[in-house]
Symmetry: C2
Subunit: 354 residues, 2 copies
């Protein structure tokens, strides 16, 4: 347990919960009544507050807007059948958040603010956690630079916030993706492993161009040959071959160390699958498709958990899949959902009770 | 000339100019009385306003903070001996701004807002342009995404602003730099040529580590071998060899297409120098230093115009220079200053009168 934290709590006079239809929730559009805000100055975190969700008054010279020191995480909280609320693997997100902070030359956020602050905030807004299956409360912790000065140097002041957004079931249609051969998202020595804002802004154009060609997203590749596979849009990627499952490895720091990626690997190993984390070349995947050994392709991420891939295109070569192919991915999704629904035991301590 | 623009102007009741000491101005710390603000929505720019410099009320879910669609430019305005104000090459910055916008999947800003808005804003705050030599008014146009929604997709709304900061003479001490062999700033297919916020945030850690080793900045290199030279911190880099000047070329899109870089190349060619824009390998520079053919190294950028390099280190090999070596760079700086001071003719139409 973390130490008790001195958080000032100011509650709204009237909740806006009754204005929201919890049966029809788009992703990340509605926010709960409250937010957590903390400030970093003179080398330490201070003014930790839970207060009504409200706009921020920010100077036009705000360092985050000009020089991009801005990072975030995405986490989900659920309510079980008995009404008990819990968060899925928040400590893994805390660890990754602070790795992002280090890479972006920003201060770490301590556990008592990130985890305990999140717990207290959700406690205040617990009525906002949808109780229905496949619904959840999306948690967005983020930190950004707040110095008001145009010199290029690490900011000396920061804000850390947590905002909460109730979200409905995410049933994306199976994705059509293509291997990206022109744009690059990340390279060794860069910031690809960090969840910093710039990674997302830099990736949008490739997705827009792919969408104009009829795809949903791109499968990013290495910067040199555009043949070593990295990740899909906002998700990690898995390839189910005849006798094993392969997924790109993390050692080059070019892909996100997904919490769902890790959960999926764990579940696959529990199921007895042979999972290989290693560099994956597009030619290996194309060859496996030609021999019939490529069974399934799927993406993993916080929003969808598992996203099926219907089409994977490499140039003019299209690999197509359909519902009957998605066996292993469906079973993994079933098990992850069952753990969250407390129908399977939480053997890895992934559920953090609020 | 651009079309007359409908700009609503609201002036401050009392200028804060008298509170500022124009003889002692740090870079980018003080801002003038007014700012320009425009909004993009429903596919077009609207609400172009000049108004008192003031904080912005921004939602915590602001797209720019979470997903990094945020770009900027840096330009300078001067006042000549007769009191006439002018901007240095603003059209080149407009062109680059819109290339950054394209890469970051953002709308272009039209000339009548970027140039004419800038002209009108500076007209309103013209008393803020320092008249002394080597002083200037730093102009910061920037644009960021303003959708309030956590889905990862190009924002549909944006703000474009121009803020102004009077700045004193920038006499940096000669720089000690080292060749970066661990971190990567940019790679082909990425966003290195764009002036987006994330490029700066991602570069800070390398500079911080170099500073801990006694250097001021790093000289970025290619992502694969860390041997092909790119740019120095916030500047382009030039190497003066015995019979020519070389500077890294732009074709990979990994370095900024600096306006000062271009001005320097133009002035060097006017002086009869043989300038080569091409890939530059660190071994070529080290070999030229060993034979005595490497005469000078210097950086170019809006803030300093020309920054002398005192030390360039490649691993344990240090190349040192001193005042007596900085012949060509000093002459280039003298000519650029003389063009701005209207002591040399503005043959390239670089000065834009306000």
């Amino acid at each position: 347990m973390v130490a008790a934290l001195d958080i000032q709590v100011t509650k709204v006079e009237r909740s806006k919960l009754s204005e929201i239809n919890l049966d029809n929730l788009p992703f990340g559009k509605y926010f709960t009544d409250h937010m957590l805000e903390a400030e970093y100055e003179n080398g330490k975190w201070t003014n930790v507050e839970i207060k009504p969700y409200q706009p921020l008054l920010l100077d036009p010279s705000l360092a985050a807007i000009h020089y991009g020191q801005s990072i975030f995480e995405g986490i989900k909280a659920y309510k079980d059948a008995a009404g008990n609320a819990f968060i899925f693997r928040p400590y893994d997100n805390l660890k990754r958040f602070n790795l992002s902070a280090l890479r972006m030359n920003m201060p770490e956020v301590p556990e008592e603010i990130f985890i305990e602050g999140m717990r207290r905030l959700i406690e205040v807004d617990k009525e906002w956690i949808p109780g229905k299956k496949e619904h959840s409360l999306y948690i967005r912790p983020f930190m950004f630079a707040t110095d008001c000065m145009l010199g290029v140097r690490p900011s000396t002041t920061y804000k850390f916030l947590i905002i909460l957004s109730p979200t409905g079931p995410y049933f994306p249609r199976p994705m059509k993706i293509r291997v990206e051969e022109k744009y690059t998202r990340a390279v060794k020595g860069g910031v690809g492993f960090a969840k910093n804002a710039g990674n997302y802004g830099g990736s949008l154009l490739a997705a827009t161009e792919a969408q104009a060609e009829g795809y949903d997203q791109v499968l990013w590749t290495d910067a040199v040959e555009h043949k070593w596979l990295q990740e899909v849009g906002m998700m990690n990627v898995f390839f189910v071959l005849k006798d094993k499952v392969v997924t790109p490895s993390l050692e080059d720091g070019t892909i996100l160390n997904g919490v769902t990626r890790n959960s999926v690997i764990t579940v696959l190993k529990d199921m007895g699958a042979d999972v290989e984390e290693r560099p994956v070349h597009v030619n290996e995947i194309v060859a496996a498709h030609k021999t019939g050994e490529l069974k399934e392709v799927f993406g993993t991420g916080t929003a969808a958990t598992i996203a099926y891939v219907e089409t994977l295109a490499y140039g003019k070569y299209e690999m197509n899949f359909s519902e009957k192919d998605w066996e292993l991915s469906t079973e993994v999704k079933r098990r992850l959902t069952a753990i969250r629904d407390k129908e399977l035991p939480d053997t890895n301590n992934w559920l953090f009770n609020i």
